[in-house]
Symmetry: C2
Subunit: 330 residues, 2 copies
């Protein structure tokens, strides 16, 4: 299987991407197509061990996309950017999946119009797997669609449920609708109508409304919402996690005794940190496209890129896309 990687997507430059690709090649059975500036990539690959090097090819792309550029530039003006070329390799069958840490809006736009949506699906959704008290939980949409309709949220539930079942191996995933109360009449119109539609038509294990405090506690495996709400929820989640982690770290760094205490808890703290670390979860899959497209975190280091590539591989190893198609035919 071949994964096309946008070498210029990400805040840490091409080196972090290339190092991540090399790590992935050595650990997993895959081939990598690095898409980007030929001279720079050739140089970065010159010191790579031969067993990894032979699994990596380069596709030249001279242009790159700014993180703050408007999404539509990927279709007009920037069709020669590393992101657009990587997506085109997938669309043309030269690669099986694409990973990019670049501009999220452009990746959603490019994924939708270059790789293309699965026929019958209203919208693709950006999804993210986050740690919960009991394991992991998928939140979607987290930013691909700010304005949603009930039919879209119904489909997002199906996409999330299939992902958690096929990729994360969870049996009959529990799907909740993010809302401001558990009662069916709660929330704005979109959520009242979505709740009704999901109760009537969901082909998955819909458990009703859940509140913002429920999913970090692990009450469900998939949380469905519109992209505006989901993006806020995801970022509050990250912000609180980071803030608390730094405060706890501060407690341990107070004096010599607390530093000793940190040593005594080292194993547990390490496991805790690993669980909370977004890098461990790879990237955010863009669900609903004809092939896997993974958005890696913008400031991913090589480990995070490796894990995003791992996620593309796990995704490719399932029959998820054909299952989505089957579901849409019903």
């Amino acid at each position: 299987m071949k994964i096309a990687i946008d070498a210029h997507g990400g805040d840490n430059g091409a080196k972090a991407v290339v190092d991540g690709a090399v790590l992935a090649c050595m650990e997993y059975d895959c081939e990598i197509i690095l898409v980007g500036e030929l001279a720079e990539l050739t140089k970065l690959l010159s010191t790579v061990p031969e067993n990894a090097r032979k699994k990596i090819t380069i596709t030249d792309a001279r242009n790159s996309l700014d993180m703050h550029a408007e999404s539509k530039v990927i279709l007009k003006g920037k069709r020669d950017s590393s992101m657009a070329v990587a997506l085109t390799l997938v669309a043309e069958g030269a690669a099986d999946a694409c990973v990019s840490g670049g501009n999220t809006g452009a990746l959603v736009m490019g994924g939708t119009f270059i790789v293309k949506r699965i026929p019958g699906l209203s919208r693709a959704a950006l999804a993210t797997v986050m740690p919960s008290q009991t394991g992991a939980c998928m939140l979607l949409d987290v930013g691909a669609n700010s304005d949603c309709k009930p039919e879209m949220l119904l489909q997002f539930g199906m996409l999330g449920s299939l992902y958690m079942e096929k990729v994360m191996k969870i049996d009959s995933p529990k799907v909740g609708l993010l809302n401001i109360g558990t009662e069916e009449h709660k929330g704005i119109e979109l959520y009242v109508e979505s709740n009704k539609l999901m109760r009537e038509k969901a082909t998955y294990n819909f458990i009703g409304n859940i509140e913002g405090r429920d999913f970090p506690m692990g009450v469900c495996d998939v949380v469905v919402c519109d992209g505006f709400t989901g993006n806020i929820a995801l970022k509050v989640f990250e912000g609180v996690g980071l803030s608390l982690y730094q405060q706890i770290k501060g407690v341990f760094l107070t004096n010599i005794l607390t530093k000793f205490a940190a040593l005594l808890c080292k194993k547990g703290l390490k496991a805790f940190k690993k669980k909370m670390d977004y890098k461990e979860y790879g990237g955010a899959p863009l669900l609903g496209l004809c092939a896997p497209v993974i958005k890696a975190h913008g400031n991913s280091d090589s480990i995070a890129f490796k894990n995003a590539i791992r996620q593309a591989i796990f995704f490719l190893n399932t029959d998820m896309i054909s299952e989505i198609k089957k579901n849409l035919e019903v």
Copy 2:
């Protein structure tokens, strides 16, 4: 100053409310009017120390409001409930402020139509003060208004800014608009328009859009959003905080050595826990009414009720309401 307390608002029964009122009487210069079932309250007060007892009176109210009742029942059908009677005491000038841990929707409805909004204000907002990396931050609206207009968000910024300045003593509070990106064009229509309006018309220190991960880190003192988004953000905040706290606790409880480590960090952990504890912050003020109305957390214990009463006192000790009026005249 007299505070009317809804004795039957809260999940822990009238005893927690009465105990909180007694604690507040002993600590602060205030009188309390307990509103609720005369016989039950008389009995609960029978064992109270005389110096507190003489500062507390009872107003009989035979009815109470269910936590899941529809908001409008406070105006029709339940005008004799403890919550409605407590609000009426404020409206009639028999009390200066009201505290309730009961049904949030009913309190917003009752506050708006019994105590009444300050003339010229579109809507009252439910606000909550939460811990941040650098101190405290007010989030509003967190549930009073699911459907908002830009003019409302503009006013919410003014309410939050005045509260943080007058009650929390923060100089020129930084006000941010919660959004999915810092750029002005980001987000759904309401937020694009609100950003524009706030840039043009804010009479306070508006710093532009902020993201969900920014406010736990302490980038601003006030976060403005619609009540649906704010309620989700608040509850994700609480859920992640609780989940992480339990996980850290789990690390310390692993074995005898980690338990010893917890002892070594006791002081820092206690300070951390106190900072994260919603009880310390009192309740959520309903801002924009003609008198202070404080929503205590539903499952408040006596300490949390005492702190909610303290918040009403601090609020009354400022010229916040006349300042809001002045601002609306501009």
